[in-house]
């Protein structure tokens, strides 16, 4: 059984009297422990799908089945409890944390809300989480804005894994990082996946990273699925127009200078 099954998901927005279909009849599934990538240009609906899957926004039509349950039927306390299993990491870790927060508070919240550890036990759990993502435990009392971007994204990952999720939505989670940090974060994500069997819904505009990280990819265009399949097969030989455009536009290391013409 699939971990997550999304069927005929549709979301429309009203923008200045016009109805814009941000997500149009999208269906896909994710198996336990696998990485599915969503790629596409801006406005293709990939971040809206992330919001829908996380129930941060409500769809106009469609079904989401998560761990065998009708996820869209969950309400209130039941929904909040189930959120422990479905987590998220954002693009900009600075924006994703309360500007007043400390590292300890950010990690304390999920442990407290889901009753994972008693108050006395939590500092030890926080230290263990920090170590799990490759950070020193003495980072805990620091303010979020004091630590570096790479450290912040590690804290965001620690917060996401604190509740023992089976699926993490990574919304452009490595796009804003310096390249030297990006590689380390990708390694951490892969390590967590192989150790804890966490599935990833990896949302990115960067086909290079998608191809290197994901098993399967879905290419989106204007809210619709343009093409999907094995990540390497799709990216090495795209069939759809948007797939070809994305591949053509990906920056490549050039050894020789082109003439300006």
């Amino acid at each position: 059984m699939s971990l997550l099954t999304v069927s005929n998901l549709t979301k429309r927005y009203r923008r200045g009297g016009k109805v814009v279909t941000a997500v149009d009849d999208v269906s896909f599934h994710i198996e336990p422990g696998e990485t599915l990538a969503l790629a596409g240009p801006s406005g293709s609906g990939k971040s809206t799908i992330a919001g829908l899957v996380l129930r941060l926004i409500e769809p106009d039509a469609g079904r989401i089945e998560f761990e065998g349950d009708d996820f869209l039927a969950l309400r209130g306390a039941k929904l909040r409890a189930r959120r422990a299993r479905l987590q998220m990491v954002f693009q900009d870790p600075l924006a994703a944390f309360n500007p007043r927060a400390t590292v300890a508070r950010v990690l304390d919240d999920p442990l407290r809300i889901h009753g994972i550890a008693s108050r006395a036990e939590r500092p030890r759990r926080i230290a263990a989480l920090l170590e799990r993502v490759g950070l020193a435990a003495d980072l805990a009392p620091r303010a979020i804005h004091e630590i570096s971007g790479g450290q912040r994204q590690r804290v965001a990952i620690a917060r996401a894994i604190a509740t023992g999720p089976s699926l993490i939505v990574l919304d452009e989670a490595v796009s804003a990082l310096d390249v030297s940090v990006r590689g380390q974060i990708l390694d951490l994500l892969l390590d967590l996946q192989s150790q804890e069997r966490i599935a990833y819904l990896f949302i990115s505009h960067d086909l290079g990273v998608v191809r290197a990280l994901a098993r399967r990819v879905i290419l989106l265009d204007a809210g619709r699925i343009a093409e999907s399949g094995d990540a390497r097969a799709v990216i090495d030989a795209p069939q759809s127009a948007i797939g070809r455009a994305l591949v053509a536009a990906a920056p490549r290391l050039k050894r020789t200078t082109q003439d300006a013409s």
Partner: protein, 276 residues
């Protein structure tokens, strides 16, 4: 540069802080300097200031010590001003946060209530409330709050509307935080700075409203108030103008002090935020 040093480099802010400090000192030492009832008769009636050095600011129509009244009046002004402002800011922030965060019907209802309070002039509201319920210190504070909580509520709501779209609110929802905890722990503290920036204006307005109510005889009759002193002196304005002028000056300096110090704080924190 730390904010305290920047604050101290702004002359207006320092002047405001000194005025406020003097006012607070007056209020604190009033019972020590003038331990008795400030409304007791202390000497001959209508003694002008600077005649008798045991009564340096003279006496009023009944022979009460103006200086003692002035010091005790500072207590009332300060207590009412701060209590009313604190209550108005607290109620306003909570209402604004709930309205902005909940949205929909809750927002609609809370904002119509806010409209209703805001369309009635706040002084009239206070006047009506005190005349119906009866004058006492707590009632005066409540009367002032009735007309002043709406400003903070609107500002808090506007701020919350922008904050609730931020990633960290989505992140709090994604980890399963309760909506009320999100509203009051994640959103409200970040919506507060512009609301708090209003506090000096609200304190100043509350001090003036209290004085106006007392002037009209609607203050707490068991307490000396500057407004009441001005009203007292009005009957003998031609022969003993100092009776109205002395508390009047105290009132002006208080409002000025609150305002300047408040502006100074806003300015120094704004510069700080601009830099970082």
């Amino acid at each position: 540069m730390n904010p305290l040093r920047r604050f101290l480099r702004t002359p207006e802010a320092v002047a405001g802080a000194i005025l406020l400090a003097a006012l607070i000192a007056m209020a604190l030492i009033a019972p020590l300097l003038f331990p008795g009832d400030p409304q007791a008769i202390a000497g001959p009636a209508l003694l002008p200031p600077f005649q008798d050095w045991s009564l340096p600011l003279g006496t009023d129509r009944l022979g009460r010590d103006v200086q003692a009244e002035l010091f005790h009046g500072a207590r009332t002004s300060l207590a009412v001003g701060l209590a009313a402002a604190a209550a108005a800011l607290a109620i306003g922030s909570v209402v604004g946060t709930l309205a902005g965060f909940a949205g929909g019907l809750v927002d609609e209802m809370l904002m119509r209530v806010t409209d209703a309070f805001q369309t009635v002039p706040s002084f009239l509201l206070a006047l009506a409330f005190v005349s119906v319920v009866g004058p006492s210190l707590g009632i005066v504070v409540a009367a002032i709050v009735l007309g002043t909580w709406t400003g903070p509520a609107r500002i808090a709501r506007a701020e919350v509307l922008s904050i609730r779209e931020r990633d960290y609110v989505a992140s709090a929802r994604a980890i399963g935080m309760h909506p009320l905890e999100i509203a009051f722990r994640e959103v409200l503290p970040n919506a507060l700075p512009p609301v708090l920036a209003m506090s000096s204006v609200i304190v100043a307005a509350a001090v003036l409203t209290e004085a106006a109510l007392s002037f009209l005889g609607l203050g707490d009759p068991n307490r000396v108030t500057w407004g009441g002193m001005i009203a007292e002196g009005r009957a003998v304005l031609r022969t003993a103008p100092f009776l109205s002028i002395v508390p009047g000056i105290a009132l002006v300096l208080t409002v000025l002090g609150v305002y300047l110090a408040g502006e100074g704080i806003v300015e120094t924190t704004a510069v700080r935020r601009g830099l970082s």
